[in-house]
Each structure stands twice: as structure tokens, then as C-alpha cells.
Subunit: 526 residues, 2 copies
């Protein structure tokens, strides 16, 4: 019953199956940033298995390369975009400010921020997809290309809209959609135990937390209905049949490859066409460069702290940088810090700054003692895979929720970006390094995470090819996707039954009164 056997076997399976695969024509519409890193893992595997890939990107894309030997690129020319590196710096400053507010003020400010951010992102996407749909030559070309499948990350709906326009079977590589967890779009998500995006609750909530979570649920539905949907109204009217609506299109994907593993995520309802592939990007570590290896070895018995702050944040605020740097300087460990920005004044001799680091290979290195991370999903799954305990400093987006998940499992400590001090950071860091419970828990999680009948990546590839083989997977799509929300929740039936019962009661009362009156009158007459 060996875990490694399973993995070995799974790789064998894929190699074995590879010989039988015949290439499909796949149109890929990725998202930018860390989402693009994710998509590349799947694309590389699809390329190896002989599939023909075409990628759609915006000319203002921050990370998606304009050309590649692995795929054909369609670049859509966009004149401007609000989402650049500076935008993320502003977001980060705002995030730090939010963490300093009282919970109630923060709740309302957060909702306002989310609404604003949704508008900025979606208007950018609208501009991209409008440009495409308005370009009849491009559309004709895409239609004539006769793709077999659309593979897209539906965090923003450009790919969803294009896939529906071209009537392609669709597979999602997905984690977020509209205002939160993509599950919310297709699976029941009772707010009694499914914590909402940004709530920072676990699945075990007290009454007041459940109340707040319920309110967050309602607000998120309203934001979807009144912020996101209206943005695409005109576009839908112009390019799609009259009864089209965005939510139905979003729900129409054949397979949802969800970047979730319940080793991290709280257990929650799913659907038959949801395939879990959390941690699909994880792999055994490879040897690192001689220079890095020397640095790792120079740490001796103390080992190394690996630090990364993610792809989107290029520079942390100065006060945070200095607090962290001075804490690192006090450690007996060596530190490798992926860092872009001005060199901190309090940096110690034990710390090496790099503008890129082989994160997976370092996390799998035997000298690594702890991973200091912003809490991005990719990094967290890599830490789980390699069984390395984590100190988390969440900065943006889902990082706060990811942090809660790892913290309640006892595999991480979390430091608040709003109130961070060097002393507190050092104490937390030393705790994670010295207290064996964090490492032991992470090793247990790692063992569970690596124990599968088919690896998450193999599973993803299987289901993509399943959709190719059968030209869709409609039999796995729930009829719920076609019901309006009030019918889905049986509200129409409940109202109808209440009306019937009330009418029956009311009629009985009237009848009783009439009978009473008559008998009274009769008595009086007698």
C-alpha cells in the first residue's frame, strides 16, 4: 500500500496511454499572473501528448508570452489596461490599510473595494472580448479552425464567452469565478459551513460568524447580479441569441478542473462534473544551481528559510520589508529571499536576495526548514507536497483564506500584514522552526496529499481527453444549471404551498363563522 508506488504507477499510466492518444485541436484562453503558471503545467502535458494548442492573449498581458514553440498564439491588440504592476502596488497598500481597521468598518470597506475591483477587472475583460467578437475576420478564422475544445480559466469570462460563441465543448481550469469560490456557480454552498471568500472563517463557525458569513453570501450574490452581469449586457445583446445570460454560459462547461484538494480546502459539496486537481503542479524537486547548493549547505545544521512573496506583488511596503529583514538577521538559519525592490537597510549577512528562485526545488531540499510565503495557492500546495511548515504573511485576494486553512490544520503560523512588527515576526518564525508539531503536521498532510489513485495532473489530462473523446460530457451537467435561483431553492414551491394552506385555513375560518352565525340566528329564532 505504498504511496510512492501509486505515483510511479500513475506516471507509467500516462506514458502508457500517451501512445494511444490522437491529438485534439485545443483553444486555450488563460488568465494572466499566477493563473498563467497553472495553465502552462497543463499545456505542457497536453503538448507532450500530441495535442495542438492555440493560446489567446491580450497585447497588454503581463506574463503570457507572445510566442512559444509549444503553441500558436493569437494576440488581441488592446490599447490600454488599468491592470498593471502599479495597480497591484496600490491594491497592496489598500490591503495593509484594511487590516488596520475594525472588523465592521473593514467588512463594508472590503465590499466596496471588491465592487470597485470587479468593475476594473471586468471592464478590461469586456474590452478584450469585444475587440475579438467585433473582429469578424478573426471570428471567421476561429470558426474555420474547427477547434475540438476550449480550455479556459473562467476567473474572468472572456474565454467563457468565446467558447460559447464558437459552440465548443469546454473544460475549465478553475478556482475563482465572479465573486468567490467557483463552486458557488454550480454546487450548493450552504453558508452555514462553507466560509465565503475573504471571510477568514473556518468551516466551524459560531452563530455570529455564521450570520456574517450569510450576509457575505447575500452581498456576493448581489455583487454578481448588479455589478458583474450588467457589464456584459450590451455585448450579449450584440453577439449572442436573445435569451443568453452570462451565468448560464458560465455554468455550461463540461468539466470543471478545480484547483482544490481537501487536504487544504474545507470539505464542501461538489458536483459530478467537478474534478479536483489541487496541487497538480507539484513535482519532485530537481537539483539546484551550484551557487544555491553551496549557500544551502553553508547553513549547516540550522538549515534554510525560503521566502517568496508571489508573482503579482513586486515590492512590499518599506516598513514591512525592514521588519522582516531585521527579524531574518537575528536567525542562526540562512535565508533565501525572492525579493524585488530596494535592498532593506537591516538586511543581515545570512540573507541572499534573488529576483527569482526555483521555489519547488528549494522546498524539496533537505536543508529547508520553513517557507515564508504570502499564501498563494501554488506555493501552499508546493509546501504541502514537500511537507515544509509555513509562516504566512497574506497580502491580497485569496491569500488570507488560504492562510486560515493551513493555520487551523496546525501546519502554519500567520502574521497580520496590518500590524506586523519585527519582534512578532521573529517570534512566529522561531516558533515554526523550533516547534516540531508544525513540521509533523505538514508531513502528515503531505503523505495524505500524495496518496491518490491517479495524480492530480494525470486526472486533469484524463478528463480533458474524455471531453475530446466524447465531444463533451453533458450527462454530468446538473439540471440545476437551468433553474432560476428561486426555483432551485424551492422558494416558488414554498410560497405556493403557504398560499394554499393559508387559503384553506382562511376558508375554514370563514366557513366556521358562517356556520356559527347561522346556528346563533337559529337559536335566537327558537
Amino acid at each position: 500500500m505504498g504511496v510512492n508506488t501509486n505515483q510511479l504507477l500513475s506516471s507509467c499510466c500516462l506514458l502508457f496511454l500517451a501512445g494511444f492518444s490522437s491529438g485534439g485541436k485545443i483553444l486555450v484562453f488563460p488568465e494572466d499572473g499566477s493563473h498563467w503558471l497553472n495553465m502552462q503545467f497543463i499545456m505542457k502535458e497536453l503538448h507532450v501528448r500530441g495535442h495542438n494548442l492555440t493560446v489567446v492573449r491580450s497585447s497588454r498581458s503581463l506574463y503570457i508570452q507572445a510566442s512559444s514553440p509549444l503553441y500558436t498564439v493569437i494576440t488581441v491588440n488592446i490599447t490600454e489596461t488599468a491592470v498593471d504592476a502599479e495597480f497591484f502596488t496600490i491594491l497592496l497598500q489598500r490591503s495593509v490599510a484594511l487590516r488596520k481597521m475594525s472588523p465592521i468598518v473593514r467588512f463594508f470597506e472590503q465590499q466596496r473595494d471588491v465592487a470597485t475591483m470587479l468593475q476594473i477587472f471586468h471592464n478590461g475583460i469586456l474590452s478584450l472580448i469585444s475587440t475579438m467578437l467585433d473582429d469578424s475576420t478573426l471570428m471567421k478564422e476561429l470558426q474555420d479552425s474547427k477547434f475540438d475544445l476550449m480550455l479556459t480559466d473562467p476567473a474572468f469570462p472572456a474565454g467563457v464567452l468565446l467558447g460559447n460563441y464558437l459552440h465548443l465543448p469546454m473544460v475549465y481550469n478553475v478556482r475563482w469565478l465572479n465573486t468567490g469560490d467557483a463552486h458557488m456557480a454550480i454546487a450548493p454552498s450552504p453558508p452555514s459551513h462553507v466560509p465565503m471568500y475573504n471571510s477568514m472563517f473556518s468551516d466551524k463557525m459560531d452563530f455570529l460568524q455564521r450570520t456574517e458569513n450569510f450576509l457575505r453570501y447575500v452581498v456576493s450574490c448581489l455583487q454578481e447580479q448588479f455589478v458583474i452581469i450588467p457589464i456584459y449586457d450590451k455585448l450579449l445583446k450584440k453577439h449572442f441569441p436573445s435569451d443568453s445570460d452570462l451565468l448560464t454560459m458560465q455554468r455550461s462547461a463540461d468539466i470543471w478542473l478545480m484547483r482544490v484538494d481537501f487536504i487544504l480546502e474545507f470539505p464542501r459539496p461538489g458536483m459530478p462534473n467537478v474534478v479536483y486537481m489541487g496541487g497538480f503542479q507539484c513535482r519532485p524537486s530537481q537539483p539546484i544551481s551550484a551557487e544555491l547548493e553551496d549557500f544551502m549547505q553553508s547553513s549547516g545544521e540550522h538549515g534554510v528559510v525560503v521566502v517568496s512573496q508571489g508573482l503579482t506583488v513586486t515590492a512590499l511596503p518599506k516598513e514591512i520589508t525592514e521588519a522582516i529583514a531585521s527579524a531574518f538577521a537575528k536567525l542562526p538559519q540562512k535565508v533565501i529571499w525572492r525579493y524585488m525592490g530596494e535592498r532593506p537597510l537591516s538586511l543581515g549577512n545570512n540573507t541572499m536576495l534573488l529576483d527569482w528562485l526555483p521555489q519547488n526545488d528549494l522546498l524539496g531540499h533537505p536543508k529547508t526548514r520553513v517557507f515564508v510565503s504570502h499564501g498563494g495557492t501554488n506555493g501552499i500546495y508546493e509546501a504541502i507536497y514537500h511537507g515544509v511548515p509555513v509562516l504566512l504573511l497574506p497580502l491580497l485576494f485569496d491569500q488570507f483564506d488560504n492562510a486560515v486553512r493551513l493555520e487551523v490544520r496546525g501546519a502554519a503560523r500567520v502574521v497580520d500584514v496590518g500590524t506586523i512588527t519585527s519582534k512578532e515576526f521573529l517570534e512566529a518564525l522561531q516558533d515554526v522552526i523550533r516547534n516540531p508539531s508544525y513540521r509533523n503536521t505538514m508531513q502528515k498532510l503531505s503523505k495524505l496529499h500524495r496518496d491518490w489513485p491517479l495524480s492530480p495532473l494525470d486526472s486533469a489530462i484524463f478528463w480533458i481527453e474524455y471531453v475530446l473523446r466524447h465531444k463533451g460530457a453533458r450527462h454530468l451537467s446538473s439540471e440545476a444549471n437551468n433553474l432560476p435561483w428561486y426555483s432551485y431553492q424551492c422558494l416558488d414551491v414554498i410560497v405556493f404551498l403557504i398560499a394554499i394552506i393559508s387559503t384553506a385555513l382562511w376558508a375554514s375560518i370563514i366557513l366556521c363563522r358562517l356556520l356559527c352565525c347561522r346556528s346563533n340566528k337559529k337559536q335566537k329564532k327558537d
Copy 2:
């Protein structure tokens, strides 16, 4: 991307992994009847993989053998049981009578029947489990045996109670629980698109059907609460801690191996610890006896009709038997009929009666044209596996619902047991034989059903051994299992919010009135 390749590979996987397995001590508490057939498939595989099996059975069991070379048997002596062959004959007569009633009368009669049947079955189970728990020597022996796992079919809760009593990690081999689909116990089951047990609705319901389905949902919750739970009250008080309740115990299994495949079942919400293994018993057909083979070949180009009425019903009512037999006599096909009872008077020369038949091997035989079945789950999955179209004559239990599922997919015709005539039966049978759409649809379903990354049986074995390896799978159990139903549905939160909003409104109205009064008085004074 070959389907057969996957199957071949999956078998290889299991053989390969077998070498690495170390035996676990597994306590098996099966259900009787066709459920026992299911359990045996898993047990055989577990035995091959070196696990040590102990089976608990009642001395009045109809099918579970008292000894076997594959497992140790614990027989619990029970003095009497209401559930015998005659009981099923009475059930069948009642079922035929119900089919003749108007829908509204049938609804109420059905609910009364279900309540009565639940009481009969559960009182039998109560007697079995009470005898066991009262037997302190047996309990000591079981505790000392230090089992690693309880594998049980929780349709009735004897295994669940024993597993909880012994504090064993638990894996369910499950389809039904309490008053219907086992999903209802752990996964959201919105009655807007999840048809209830015995409703005979598909997942696409009109408003009145949704209303009826909602009522069935409510009635089934009430039956669970007021019929089933009270039966075990005394037992729980006597043998379990004071805060124990049956539903929580039922929900506490680590893994639910669900005998469901969405090739047949309507897509519906699931949970992370639910593993689907519908059709796990299906396998390629083996050569049949020379006598049977001769009979099959003698059918020539017309082929053969294979007929089975399941395990529980030993004899169909005479009028049905004669209607069917006379229809068969008019066919150019040969007929093989699994039949127990008096030889029908109108039986034709083309029909062979057998009291047992190698169903799977016959369904996989190239001469088989159609399968006439009562609609039991095992038979239906075997028909799907082999791509044989079906004529269904549902008699009892879930067979009516199974029939609807296959009928709406266009892979079967259904004949009503309440109104059956020879003419109608013949017409339906000829339609299924002659109209190629039934066979084509079945072949498509078969192709989809056989296309998996890991076979359903291998998947079941993987998850049983997963629980053995990790001594449970608590991280896959939802926090929802610990919430009372009103909290799960957020009803407490909604009432609280309505109370707050009403109070705020009421306070504002009072305040406004006070202010108005004051200003009026002031005006009058002025």
C-alpha cells in the same frame, strides 16, 4: 485515448499494487439479498489482496452463507424474522395494487406502506443488533480482535451501530439509507432537481412535480425523525454515550462507496468523501455452458431475449406471468427466462425456463438482443456495461426510479406492472428489439460507462485501503455533519436577521410617530 486500454491498465494497476499491500483486519456487516451480491464482489477482491475478513450475519439470513473459505463468519442467533420469501410476495401483490390506484391515492398509500415497511425492517435490525450488544462475551471478543476497519452496507443501521460501538474507521458500500438515496444523509439534495425515492420523476420537473417532490422530501424527513429514530432510542440509551444520536453516527463514515454512476443517475451534489463505484460488479462475459451456448446459437439471426426478475421476487402474480409468457411465444427470438414458480400455461417452445442464469455472461453474449428486467440496480448496470437495450417491468423498491432513469436516456421501454397486458408487453418488446435507437443509445452509454481512469472496483479497493493506511479519512468529512438541520439550512440566522430588521423598523416607526406627535402638539400650541 482507447477505452479498453484504460481498463487493461487499471487491472494492471491493481495487480501491481497487490504486491505492496499488507493485510488489514476488516469487519464486514453486509445487508441481505442483492446487497449481499454487491458486497461479495468487494470482499473477493479484498481477499485476493490479502486482507483478513470477518462477516457478521443473522441466523435467519436468506442469502449470506454460514461459512466460506474467504472469510470468518459470526452468526448471531435470532429467533424470528418477519422478512422472509413470503413477505416479498405480499410486498409484490401490494405493489401491483398500488400501480392501479390514482396518483393522489397512491401517494398517500405509498407513504403509509413505507412507514409500515420501515418499522418491520428496522425492528428486525433492532433485534439483531440488540442481541449482539447485549452479548458481552461477543462484544469483548470483537473488541479484542482489534479490527482496522468496518465495511458495511448502512441501508439498515446494525453495522453502523456496531462500528460506532467498536470505534472503528468505517467505509460504506451504500446506495440507500433511511428513507431514500444515501446522499440525502450527507449531501445537499435540493428537491427542485433531485427526484425523491419512489417519485418516478426525472431531474427535469414541472412546477407541480417539483411541488410533489418537495412534499415527498418533507414526508421523508418526518418518517426518518418519527418512524426510524425512535426505534433505536432505548438501544442508544443503553449502550452508547448520552449525547449519541443515530443520524450523526450514520454520517460519521470515513468513505461512502456509492453504488452510483452518473451514466444512469441524474447529476446531483456529492461530497468529498463520497466515491462513486456504480457498476463495480460488471466484468467481461465468460463462456457459458455448452447447453446454453447451443440454445443461444439455435436462435439464428433473430437472437435471444434474456429475462430476469431479480433475487427477492421468487414468483410473479399469475396474470403477469401468463401475459409475459404468451407474448414471448409470439416472438421469432429465443427466450431464456430466469423463473421460479408454476410453469405458465401459455409458454411457447422458444422459451427456456431456468431457476438461475449466468446473467452477466448472457448479457455479454453476441446473440443477446434485449434484456427483460425488473430494473434492479445490478442488472441495469450489467446491461449498460454490455450495451444491451432493456425492457423494464419494475416490481418493487428502487426499481421504478431506476426504470425512469434508463427510460429518459432513451435506452429502455418501461411496462407498468399494474396495467400490463400481453399485447402491450409484446408491442414494447418488439419496439426495443426492432428500433435501433435503443441499442445505439445503450452502446453510447456503455462506451461512456467503461471510460474511467480507474475501474469502479479498483477505485473502491483504493479507498478502503486508503482508510486502512491512514486509519480514517476525517479530513474529508464535512463540518455540516455536526450541525442541526435548522443551522445547516441557516434558518436560525435568517430568523435572527428578520428579528433584528423588524425591531429596527418597529423602533424607527415608533420614533417617527413620537416625533410627529411632538411637532403636531407644538404646531397646535403655536
